[in-house]
Subunit: 341 residues, 2 copies
DNA sequence: CCACGTCTTTGAGACGATTCAAAAAAATCT
DNA sequence: AGATTTTTTTGAATCGTCTCAAAGACGTGG
């Protein structure tokens, strides 16, 4: 259609294509008069550089793929935001892809990104050990794992989920809770398993005081799953019912909270809740939720910085596994001290 | 790096590059023996087709840009999901871009998409009348407006926001409310203005019964803005205080709801609330929110279908403006009938 | 007026895949 | 076997941009 090429610009400006290219890429080496003439022609024709041809010639893309488990989880939206801010500064485009935790969708996205010869891929993998990821790396597309630890062949940025789970559980124990529910799943998801392991460790450490962890495994990580788990818990007879719930993420926690209020259980008096991720909704919930905060934007920023570093100096680059510390934010939902132990 | 070209495959399989290309694109015209030999070579070398070169030669991209106002608003996540489902079936990739309602970011994204020569752009524009959009269309990149009505030069899919506002307000009036707050802003956003206009119309129609609309304009559409508006409303003396709030979207409604519970006002007894969008969080709120539902996935599906139609038969294509009807979903937050009018 | 630097501009290859007319090979018919 | 048709394979041209060696323009000093 109306798309003009460098050649037409050259013709109109009465210069060679090489000169137009120079104006575009190294304007300072072109004489001011010519430069102006070329700009004029560009304006007149409405010329827009064809990035595809440029990429083919230069052999280096300007776009980075970001594959996340769930675009509608605000946690990932924030990670993306962080990554994009840095990408912007480097004149790089982010391609946001949603795997929806489906390995098949993930694979399709990776295929497409590889075919596009993107500069690199940031990914929160469904399964970090998937051979597809290793293959991608091996074939020359740099990969940075996000929110998931790599084993040395790649860079990664993650948050210490074990520590997060531990701190959260320790907090609940310290507030007097003894029977603590762990709400989350499937445990095949690394993050969930780690948080669980952390909680488990904290509970074991206090086993002498009678602390114990009760698992409420869920099949998904959304609001609905949390609500279902909450109903299950609410249905238990008082003595067996945990007095606190540690949820593997905030969406679960929000659903869980709703179930409590539907069943007439007071939060935090009857049941305390701690979520994970500290998304904006957590603080804004009916009962503001305690939550384990992760540096979301920073996670995204760091991931792309590692990627860009790897790309710009492939030789001296050493893969790094960055791990951030989570922070427990205590709010209403777990503030009260339980006195009936 | 490790990236092999069609030429290397040809060499290894002892055929010409043309044949390899045929195997890739029209395998049926290649003799089985040769075909197998080529596949073998592809496997051995780990060849991945270079989509960039293909695109350059064929002149037709396989990716579509989707620019939304806020990735972290579940409404848009669902729209994206719908669009992606259809794109998938057509072997097309979706490039999700977040303008964050910032005209500048939006412009940058459009620039990049145009440089990439994408197949087309689906966009929820910050300003539908922006000349940049017309320019994109004029230069040959098809544009479909999403959740925003076009004027004839482009296709568009939208939901009747005026009707939505009207139905929501009528519902509140029918439940006995007379002083109704409209929470939302800025009014420069078309969707907000339309919803307001609809509400306004419904209220005017019942002015004889003493209904009136009180504006609580906000500067943003997030949870925080809703909370702030809620506090403003709660601070009013009882007689002046509206008994119902119609919020321009669910995020505002959630924030508003939280403010009510912080200030000790009961929902729906003291103040009824109706949100807009019916995102999953609405049903999952502490008090399940009434909300005006929009066919989110359908919006996305339809948008990309229009785009693909336009692209596949540019000549006979007539631009269409599709408008869907919203549905009011009544839940706890506005169910009660007010008896004190 | 020539030789010699310094700026500018030029234009012929890439880059990797697709296309298509034409050549080659195989199959079918006399 | 030779002619004819059908099936396969070939390879040069092309898409739009960048790169870089080389040519051209210009100014300066001798």
């Amino acid at each position: 259609m109306g798309t003009r090429s460098i050649k037409e610009v050259a013709q109109l400006a009465r210069v060679s294509v090489g000169t137009v290219s120079n104006v575009l890429n190294r304007p300072e080496i072109v004489s001011p008069a010519t430069r102006e003439r070329v700009f004029e022609a560009i304006r007149e024709l409405g010329f827009v550089r064809n990035e595809v041809a440029r990429h083919l010639r230069v052999g280096r893309s300007r776009t980075v793929g970001l594959v996340v488990l769930d675009v509608s989880n605000p946690f990932f939206a924030d990670v993306a935001q962080g990554a994009e801010a840095v990408a912007d500064e480097h004149d790089t485009m982010m391609m946001l892809c949603n795997s929806a935790a489906d390995p098949d969708r993930e694979r399709r996205h990776l295929d497409q990104l590889e075919q596009q010869r993107v500069l690199g891929v940031l990914i929160t993998p469904v399964d970090a050990a998937s051979p597809r990821l290793a293959q991608l790396t091996a074939r020359g597309t740099p990969v940075v794992l996000v929110d998931s630890a790599a084993t040395g062949m790649q860079c990664s940025v993650a948050v210490d989920d074990r520590l997060g789970g531990q701190v959260a559980a320790a907090h609940l124990i310290e507030r007097g809770h003894r029977r603590i529910a762990f709400v989350g799943g499937p445990l095949s998801i690394k993050q969930v398993a780690d948080r669980h392991a952390g909680a488990s460790a904290a509970v074991s450490a206090s086993a002498g005081e009678g602390a114990e962890l009760v698992d409420f495994e869920t099949t998904a990580l959304g609001v609905a799953a949390g609500r279902a788990a909450g109903e299950r818990l609410a249905a238990l007879p008082g003595a067996e019912r945990p007095t606190a719930a540690l949820c593997a993420n905030d969406l679960l926690a929000l659903g869980f909270l709703q179930a409590m209020s539907l069943r007439g259980l007071k939060v935090p008096d009857d049941v305390a809740i701690v979520g994970y991720d500290d998304i904006d909704f957590a603080a804004a919930a009916a009962v503001p939720l305690s939550s384990v905060r992760q540096p979301r934007e920073l996670l995204g920023r760091t991931a792309i910085e590692l990627l860009l570093e790897e790309v710009s100096s492939p030789d001296e680059h050493r893969h790094r596994q960055v791990i951030f510390q989570p922070d427990l934010v205590v709010r209403e939902s777990s503030k009260a001290i339980r006195r009936d132990a």
